[in-house]
């Protein structure tokens, strides 16, 4: 009690007065209770929420980025696939065209050959025909000529023998192949 009265008198500025100690304690308790009861819980909750929100946003951004990366990779893969596909189609078209060209060429060649062969055949047939005709005519001319020269007709057997001999002679002399 004696100490309290000395303190309450507040003689020394370093010694706290009793009433001020009591009310100062009350003031500090008000501060502590007020802050820890009404301010810090909501502050803590808000800070936690903010942290969570920022973290959530960052995670979302990360997810979006990963997704975008995936889509890009897919797109690139598709693009590469499309390029391969187009290359393949071009290659196939080239091969088909090549084949077609070769076929046509072969066919044309074959046709040309067959045309030539037919023409040769025709030529040979014509030649044979002409040759046969010529042979007949020459024979007749020769007989007529001989008849005129000899003045008499040769009998048919001699006649034909002479013609053949002549023609063979002409053939072997005028045409090496016969």
């Amino acid at each position: 009690m004696h100490l309290l009265t000395i303190l309450a008198a507040g003689e020394n500025p370093i010694l706290p007065a009793a009433n001020e100690l009591i009310f100062g304690t009350i003031a500090f308790v008000i501060v502590i209770v007020g802050l820890f009861k009404f301010a810090f819980p909501s502050l803590g909750a808000m800070l936690a929420e903010r942290t969570a929100k920022i973290q959530g946003e960052m995670e979302k951004a990360e997810t979006t980025r990963l997704e975008a990366d995936k889509v890009l990779a897919e797109y690139r893969q598709n693009l590469a696939g499309a390029r391969d596909e187009s290359n393949r189609i071009i290659e196939e078209a080239r091969r088909t065209a090549d084949q077609l060209r070769k076929d046509l060429q072969a066919k044309a060649e074959q046709e040309a050959q067959s045309t030539v062969a037919r023409a040769q055949e025709e030529i040979r047939a014509e030649r044979d025909r002409v040759f046969q005709e010529l042979r007949t005519q020459v024979g007749e001319i020769a007989v007529e000529l001989a008849g005129r020269v000899v003045g008499s007709s040769l009998d048919k057997g001699t006649h034909e023998r002479l013609i053949d001999e002549y023609i063979d002679e002409v053939a072997s002399g005028g045409n090496g192949k016969g």
């Binding site: 009433n19 100062g24 007020g34």
Partner: protein, 260 residues
Amino acid sequence: MLAALSGRAGFPAPGIDILKTPCLWGTNGALCVNRVVIYMLLAAIVTVCLFVLAFRRPSLVPRGLQNVMEAIVEFVRNGIAIEVIGPEGLAFVPLLSAIFVFVLVGNLFEVIPGIQFPVNSRTAIPVILAVLVWFVFNIVGVKKQGGLGYIKSVLFPPGVPWPIYILVTPIEFVSTFVLRPFTLFVRLSANMIAGHLILTIFFVGTGYLLGRALTIPFAVPSFALAVGLTGFEILVSVLQAYIFTILTAVYIGGAIHVEH
């Protein structure tokens, strides 16, 4: 003495008795309500209001008062708790913030028009806070290192050759367990007493000098100095609140970490 001075028409320089205020309500004694008591309670209410208005319904994107108070809490958190104590300091951010703002508000009452009385120039609140800090850092130390371990780490700091302990141990004992609370509260109170005295002297002096035609020219520099010192006292108020808080953190950090 005052009467004698004024009888001789000299300047009645204000002394530390300006810190004593008469009881407004109640009798002289433990329940005397004077100006100081009212300002103490007002400082507490202002502190609580600042925090509660800022953080009662906090928004994720801070605005206005919430922004200011968040900046203060952020400063205490990063600039004091984490900087001085480390990651364990996060647990002490609420306490350190409360101490910082309460001391700051009490100090700034010195320059608030109509109040102009630093609550912490009276030693009551600094003493209460210093005693609280003493208990906090000792309890933290005992919890972290165990009773014996804590006392051993304080009294016998490692890395000292053993004969030196004859010198070091008593010094460490006195400085840690006895002097710390004293220096903590005296530093704060003495600064605020000095600031309040200086401001009072220059403002009262200005009034005194205005009282006679001859001395009126000297009232101007006296007033200018008083205004300038008011700005300086704002700086001192913030600085002392910061020092009080950071020393609290240093003491807690020292109790947590064995080697400091």
